[in-house]
């Protein structure tokens, strides 16, 4: 009997509070409306959110990082990536993909492609609003649909972007240094005096 009245009190309190308290999505404890009216209102995206891969290019679209090594396609558990290497006019293979298709109806958003890629060319996006009028064609994303700039990557995942850029810079320096030593070893340097023999 008293329990019923107390319950009625709680529901009435929630009913009235929904008009008085400000609307917040995190107000489950305090009361007040928790609904986020999605298409018009959105929750802020979390940085660690990962969904659907995209291809990164540096600066211009021609500068695509992918070298079409096919590692991601081999690692992909549901096998949703399809890559064909590009060739130049003489039929010599080039270090970039001609075809890079991801079937988003098959992709399960595991992120293994991102982990597997040794060239930092493919990353998980914050995209979740994809859709199409039919099941087959419109959800297969081609190379040009997947291309997004490094600026986009920096915008959605600044922490990861900073870490990866740091590593890439170091790698590049190391590579340059290595190249320099290789070059130094390959050709004798006339300017430098021979080191004194002990």
């Amino acid at each position: 009997m008293l329990g019923v009245l107390r319950g009625m009190g709680i529901t009435l309190k929630n009913f009235l509070a929904s008009y008085v308290l400000p609307r917040r999505p995190d107000s489950l404890e305090t009361g007040g409306i928790v609904t986020v009216q999605y298409p018009e209102e959105r929750l802020p995206e979390k940085e660690n959110f990962r969904n659907f891969p995209f291809l990164v290019f540096d600066g211009t679209v021609d500068n695509i990082r992918c070298v079409s090594c096919d590692i991601c396609a081999k690692e992909c558990p549901p096998k949703c990536i399809y890559i064909v290497r590009d060739t130049d006019s003489e039929g010599k293979p080039l270090k970039r993909p001609k075809v890079f298709d991801i079937d988003f109806t098959v992709c399960m958003n595991c992120g293994i492609c991102e982990e597997a890629c040794p060239f930092d060319a493919i990353f998980m996006d914050h995209e979740f609003e994809i859709g199409g009028p039919e099941r087959q064609k419109s959800l297969v994303y081609h190379r040009d649909d997947l291309l997004k700039s490094t600026a986009h990557f920096q915008k959605i995942r600044p922490t990861d972007f900073a870490a990866i850029e740091e590593r890439r810079k170091k790698d590049a320096e190391k590579k340059a240094a290595a190249q320099a030593t290789v070059q130094a070893a390959a050709q004798p340097k006339p300017q430098t005096p021979p080191s004194p023999q002990p």
Partner: protein
């Protein structure tokens, strides 16, 4: 402002009487009343669904429908269009004729009882001298329609729901009728109009609910009324978690909508009758028109019904039957006795004292007798 509806009807009749013979004017008068009720009933139902969804949403910290029209006000129309265009599925083994008739048959009594509700001063469609009896008798026939629908569906869940519905409605009919008796004793009439008029006085606030027996009868009548409407927490005939949807499992499209129409119109009429019997109907402070008072009280009671729905879980069948037979029935019987004493004892202090003492004692005794037998708390020595 008060007689605006009455006067507009008179104006219409004057208009018709200018060129129609007298006997047709009577017919026109009847048709105007019928038309008003036929519009009011479904319209009330449509907006009660909207009201209920909004209210339940707010109780659950949601917004409720707000997509169709401002505040979702056009939602009932969208729902209606959806219901009308849906496929009407009849089960293969169903009794086709009865399956079709049942939802129609349930709407008719729900609309009929509107005719004896006094919506305001001189605003009763038919002033029957047995108005309350008419209301109770006609609304009791919904049991038959529900059972028709349940039986005709040839579905076990439907039939179970129908059986439960019959058991519940027959049980709650008893305390419902018995709790009206004190009011009839006080007013000396069965007519709803007389009942409201006998509650005039005290500046329009001499309602029966302010007497001890009136208050008790109000509670018992209202609880039985909620049960009569098959609404939570008494909705075992259509308990979704137990028997799919009970008696309307096999209904779709507009037939399904008719079941809901009947349910929501019952909600409105039962609330209206409660307001008429105990809350003074259209009586109230003179500032507002009489029909406004009626609708305020009715919608307040409707609000409480929906508030119940937002709060209470469904009762078990035995708890439900126990409430009717072991609690409400004895309480209403004692209440009739108390009301009799009330008019027998001349001194005000004595009669209030006797009534409160008797009712309090009964309430305490019934609570004590109906206490759930809890087993002794066991201690598990080796489980610690």
């Amino acid at each position: 402002m008060d007689p605006i509806f009455v006067n507009s009807k008179k104006a219409l009749l004057n208009l018709f009487s200018a060129f129609l013979p007298d006997w047709t004017v009577v017919l026109v008068s009847i048709f105007i009343s019928i038309g008003a009720i036929m519009v009011l009933g479904p319209f009330t139902m449509m907006y009660l669904t909207w009201f209920e969804r909004k209210l339940l949403g707010r109780i659950q910290n949601r917004i409720g429908p707000n997509r169709v029209g401002i505040f979702g006000l056009l939602q009932p129309i969208a729902d209606g269009v959806k219901m009308l265009t849906k496929e009407d599925i009849v089960p293969e083994g169903a009794d086709k004729a009865v399956h079709l008739l049942a939802p129609i048959a349930i709407v008719i009594p729900s609309l009929l009882v509107f005719s004896v509700l006094p919506f305001g001063r001189n605003m009763t469609a038919v002033n029957l001298n047995i108005g309350v009896l008419f209301f109770l008798a006609v609304s009791a026939t919904t049991t038959l329609s529900i059972f028709m629908g349940a039986w005709a569906s040839r579905n076990k869940f439907s039939l179970l729901g129908g059986m439960r519905s019959v058991a519940q409605l027959v049980s709650y009919e008893v305390p419902m009728v018995l709790s009206v008796v004190p009011v009839i004793l006080a007013a000396g009439s069965l007519s709803t109009v007389d009942l409201v008029e006998s509650q005039g006085g005290w500046n329009g606030f001499k309602w029966f609910v302010f007497t001890p027996w009136g208050f008790t009868a109000f509670i018992t009548f209202y609880l039985s009324g909620v049960a009569e409407c098959n609404r939570t927490p008494f909705d075992i005939p259509e308990g979704e978690s137990e028997i799919v949807a009970g008696f309307h499992t096999e209904y779709s499209g507009m037939k399904f909508a008719l079941w809901y129409m009947a349910e929501f119109m019952n909600v409105f009429t039962v609330s209206g009758l409660t307001a008429v019997l105990f809350l003074g109907g259209w009586q109230g402070a003179p500032g507002l028109p009489s029909w406004a008072w009626f609708f305020i009280k009715t919608y307040a009671l409707v609000f409480v019904m929906m508030w119940f729905r937002g709060t209470l879980p469904r009762l078990r069948v035995d708890q439900l039957m126990g409430l009717a037979w072991k609690f409400l029935l004895p309480l209403t019987l004692v209440n009739i006795f108390v009301a009799g004493l009330w008019f027998f004892i001349p001194d005000l202090r004595w009669r209030v004292g006797t009534a409160v003492a008797l009712l309090g004692l009964t309430f305490w005794a019934l609570m004590a007798l109906n206490r759930t037998a809890l087993p002794e708390k066991r201690t598990y020595e080796f489980a610690e």
